[in-house]
């Protein structure tokens, strides 16, 4: 773990798009620090810059200005290949639409990142079994994603994100496609995993359930931080 325990540190991060000759300022001068083990929600109305900001934090997009440090490393100094490897080893992604690979079975989806990492087969299988137990999918390893409910698919996505033991989990509206009960169950599960493993969770969301369960809520408005509320 980094000495100062900061997983994410952004300084004056801005992103401007050029759309038909018009400059669109999606993110403006954001300074934000996320510490290890946080369970934080980035909230805001549509178009407030949440998604752009998370894309920049994860290295999926580059800022027009400013600096992003992840686990102490400056993302702008990395090559494309280094960024890929860095994301693989340090960030777990949970998407709104689950985005599992439909032709791979549950077990194969979950072990995919470990395969990229070169984790030995037996170790992979042990960890897959363990994480599927943790997310309540024991016995479903051989199923295809299309044979699972939305909630089950999102559990697989959570298992995939966490199994390689990344420092940071980025979750983009993870409950948006789920009914409220399933969403609440999943959030409780993620909160438990956060407490159990110490992994950092960062959500982008509109969902009040997530806001209620988050220990910190960062509100964006017009690409800027409008509020940063910490709860104990």
């Amino acid at each position: 773990m980094n000495q100062n325990h900061n997983i994410v540190a952004t300084r004056n991060v801005s992103k401007t798009y050029h759309d038909n000759g018009v400059d669109v300022h999606a993110v403006r001068g954001i300074d934000l620090t996320i510490e290890s083990g946080e369970f934080t929600a980035v909230v805001g109305p549509s178009g407030s810059g949440k998604t752009t900001f998370l894309n920049i934090i994860s290295g999926l997009d580059t800022p027009t200005e400013g600096e992003v440090r992840l686990d102490g490393r400056d993302l702008s100094s990395m090559s494309g290949r280094e960024l890929s490897d860095f994301r693989r080893d340090h960030i777990g992604f949970i998407f709104q639409a689950y985005n599992l690979i439909p032709v791979l079975r549950v077990e194969e989806n979950v072990e995919y990142i470990m395969m990229l990492q070169g984790v030995p087969r037996e170790e992979r299988h042990r960890r897959v079994k363990e994480i599927l137990d943790d997310v309540g999918l024991a016995g479903m390893a051989d199923r295809l994603p299309t044979k699972l409910s939305g909630g089950q698919q999102q559990r697989v996505a959570i298992a995939r994100a966490m199994v390689s033991r990344p420092r940071l989990i980025l979750a983009d509206e993870p409950t948006a496609n789920l009914d409220s009960r399933t969403g609440a169950d999943l959030l409780d599960m993620m909160r438990e995993l956060n407490e159990k493993t110490g992994m950092t969770f960062l959500f982008s969301t509109h969902d009040r359930m997530i806001m209620k369960r988050a220990r910190r809520v960062v509100t964006l408005r017009d690409g800027q931080i409008a509020d940063d509320e910490r709860r104990e």
Binding site: S84, D89, P102, V103, L116, Q117
Partner: protein, 407 residues
């Protein structure tokens, strides 16, 4: 690689209908390539056989300089020993000695210049097809005054079976004229102008007597056990019989124009292969791009979770390879079935003149192992190379753009 291969294979079957359509289209292209190659081989063999079996032979032995000058004095050296050697030669199936000289054939109605060919009736019957081409009468039976001529020559001279004709030739030594009366014992028709209008066949001994060259032979026509031996420059035959002032030559040397025609046929095959390769290329590009654009989001996700651009490129190339393998399987089966059927039935082009040769037999497409190695390998190579383009496009994508809404 194993995991990407598994993923590629399964991805190919995500849209079964599209994969089947593309594979069938590519497979038909491959089958057409295999069939065309087999047909061209069959056609070439038929052309070669039609050319060589009527009279030429697959190879000939002459005295050095004879082919160019047609000088009747240039008879084959040590011909008796050579004939004995040919009888023992394992590569030789048939051979026939001949004398040849220009002469005049006269009937009560007309006169025509001809090539007087003295033949050993029994050996010639097995080597060339004069007896098969007879329309009237019989093949030479060894009677000294029998003469067989072509149908057009018979028309010109206005003679038929049993009619008398007079052959006049110059003797080899001294040039004195020698005349003999013959009876027309047979009339053949090949449909080949040179043979039907300008040749008169008589027994070898009679021709030798007229020319004043007892035991003299101008030409020995040879047929091998294997048709392609005549095209094999490494065959020991050429060295064995190109010595002591004699020379042996195969049909490609005897008929260079035919060799050129066949080379042109090979070139046509390459053009056809290129056209079919174009079909294959567009089939694969279309399928891969459709599949790729449908899955841009998915590629974005794969990249987001840590797959390197090279991994995505590898995946797409392997998908192209998988598509190629399926297509090759289908195409090879289709090609085998179609070609084997036609090779059994034969294609009837008889009576048609092709590149100056009268086709005399059914054309049978020829299956070769190489057709199922070379062309499928081409298709697989093409598939992989063509797959590189969408692979490069996908590898260069911006992750956030690919995912649109993205994270």
């Amino acid at each position: 690689m194993g995991f990407y291969w598994k993923l590629a294979w399964r991805n190919i079957f995500r849209n079964k209908r599209r994969t089947i359509i593309a594979s069938v289209a590519i497979g038909i292209g491959l089958a057409a390539l295999i069939y065309s190659d087999a047909l061209i081989i069959g056609m070439k063999e038929s052309l070669i056989r039609s050319t060589t079996s009527s009279f030429l032979g697959e190879a000939q032995i002459h005295r050095e300089g004879y082919r160019l000058s047609r000088d009747a004095e240039l008879t084959i050296r040590h011909s008796s020993a050579l004939l004995e050697q040919l009888a023992q030669d394992k590569s030789v199936a048939r051979f026939a000695p001949r004398t040849q000289a220009f002469g005049m054939l006269t009937s009560p109605a007309n006169v025509n210049s001809v090539m007087l060919v003295g033949v050993d009736p029994e050996r010639e019957r097995h080597l060339s097809q004069f007896d098969d081409a007879l329309r009237q009468g019989e093949w030479l039976r060894g009677e000294a005054r029998d003469l067989v001529i072509g149908s057009k020559l018979a028309e010109t001279l206005e003679v038929g079976l049993g009619d008398r004709v007079v052959m006049t030739v110059a003797q080899v030594k001294g040039g004195d004229l020698s005349q003999e009366m013959f009876r027309v014992s047979g009339v053949y028709h090949f449909g080949i102008r040179e043979l039907d209008t300008g040749m008169a066949l008589v027994p070898l001994s009679k021709a030798q007597q007229m020319l004043g060259i007892p035991d003299g032979i101008h030409e020995i026509a040879v047929r091998f056990h294997h048709l392609h031996d005549a095209e094999n420059p490494d065959l020991g035959f050429w060295d064995r019989y190109s010595s002591n002032g004699n020379e042996a030559a195969g049909w490609p040397e005897l008929m260079p124009e035919m060799k050129n025609v066949l080379e042109l046929t090979d070139f046509s095959m390459y053009i056809l292969a290129l056209i079919l390769a174009g079909v294959v290329v567009f089939g694969i590009i279309n399928t891969l791009f459709m599949s790729m654009y449908e899955r841009m989001f998915e590629f974005g996700v794969l990249r987001a979770v840590g797959t390197r651009a090279g991994g995505i490129r590898k995946l797409i190339v392997l998908e192209a390879l998988a598509l190629g393998l399926i297509s090759v399987g289908l195409g090879a089966l289709l090609g085998l079935g179609t070609t084997a059927l036609m090779a059994h039935l034969g294609i009837d082009f008889r009576g048609i003149e092709m590149t100056g040769v009268h086709i005399q037999e059914l054309i049978y497409p020829q299956l070769r192992t190489m057709q199922f190695i070379k062309y499928p390998a081409w298709v697989i190579l093409f598939c992989s190379l063509v797959g590189l383009y969408p692979a490069l496009v996908a590898g260069r994508m911006k992750i956030a753009t690919a995912m649109r809404k993205s994270m």
